[in-house]
Symmetry: C2
Subunit: 226 residues, 2 copies
DNA sequence: CGGAACGTTGATAGCTATCAATCGACGTGG
DNA sequence: CCACGTCGATTGATAGCTATCAACGTTCCG
């Protein structure tokens, strides 16, 4: 990862100093009709990209956590999905960052970071595909927990293998392609196996080795060339 | 979509004129250990990004068709998956294109096209997530066929709702998260319903309206700003 | 205190996987 | 030219994972 120049660091400092927006739980940060909203970065809270089928089935395509953006691609907007806040979400405007990333000769470090973030987003989508395509309910749940542990850890939200976990069982079902009832039973089994503790919206991984045995999770390793 | 300048068009013409590489069916265009190969664009043939689990389960994360690239993100390399040729695949080197895309002030049209391609790749991954998470076997199959019809159509490979379809039933299973046996039965049902014809590696969509009724597919609509 | 949201439990149904076998097409070697 | 092996497709029987339905418990809050 390229170090940022003093100039870039200063730039980012100013970019992050803008006023934050607040989004209530269940509110939509992004609608289907796709007006061209400015890019936003999540400062705190969890959100999810949601797709709904005609008959009401819901799929949470991806979770969006602090440090991540709703729109990893420069200046491109796509619709067909919405982004919904799960908890209270705080965002900052990312326009300045995107503009800077569009001038790689001037801001090489920022351009690189934006490209890496987009690739990271893609790697996580691929992980979600594997979960849904070829893993059992038990494995999906564990793999997701390991992924979230990794992602939260990257932004300092994990302490003693424990972190805030604001997903309802219904949300977990929509994320993992399972029914609420089955999510409930899967969680109970994990608790009974003493692999996790989950209560009051906080998840603790009690046995990392045991969890890794149920479902491997490899953090995406991204490398930037040049 | 921004028009390319004459300069850019000329540039792309030279970029595509390089020698093509050939890849035999089942050969790997990209390995896990991730040496930093140059970016490649597929000129003809089908390939798939594959992830394998410890116990041998396989998931085809995405299909890669003519006009698409294995690595949509500029200069970023990630591993954990491989890319395998399904048919004979022909590729050209995309290094020059990436370099040009890295100079948006000089080559705005190319930079935009590369960004749109990356967003397109992401939209298709999202579609795959929805398929695997919330659709039945029947719906998955139809949705996939509609997506492939759309993608092939975009590069002129569709004639009379008919196009080359080189996937074995095993590959379809690994792509859609189904067993081979169930893929077979699903296909038979679709044939029996006179929705499709599939033989000799060619798929014909016999009833677009009927297919759309089974599983909607909306092509990703991407817009570029500025 | 009533209600809403979320979590839990038991019974049953159903979709899809697995197992096993057969068949056809194709390519190769004797 | 034909036997043989391989790969892909097909079929039938059975098992199993997960969904659905329905009811109840719990927590929280206006």
């Amino acid at each position: 990862m390229a170090a940022l120049s003093a100039d870039e660091a200063d730039f980012l400092h100013r970019a992050g100093a803008g006023a934050a927006s607040l989004w209530a739980p269940r509110s939509l940060l992004e609608h289907t009709p796709g007006e061209f909203a400015s890019p936003r970065y999540i400062i705190s809270g969890w959100a999810a990209r949601v797709r709904e089928l005609r008959d009401g089935r819901r799929q949470l395509v991806q979770l969006l956590l602090p440090g991540e953006t709703l729109t990893p691609h420069l200046n491109v907007r796509q619709d067909g999905s919405t982004v919904q806040a799960i908890t209270l979400v705080r965002t900052v405007d990312g326009t300045a960052i995107r503009v800077a990333a569009g001038e790689p000769s001037k801001y090489p470090g920022i351009a690189e970071a934006v490209a890496l973030a987009a690739a990271h987003d893609r790697a996580l989508l691929m992980e979600q595909v594997v979960r849904l395509g070829r893993q059992t309910a038990h494995e999906r749940m564990v793999n997701l927990m390991l992924e979230l542990h990794y992602r939260c850890s990257a932004v300092g939200l994990v302490h003693d293998e424990s972190f805030e976990f604001p997903l309802t069982q219904e949300a977990l079902g929509d994320l993992l392609g399972l029914s609420v009832v089955h999510v409930n039973r899967t969680l109970q089994l994990l608790r009974q196996q003493e692999l996790i503790q989950l209560k009051h919206g906080r998840l603790t991984l009690l046995n990392m080795a045991g969890l890794a045995e149920v479902a491997e999770f490899k953090p995406p390793r991204l490398t930037y060339a040049n």
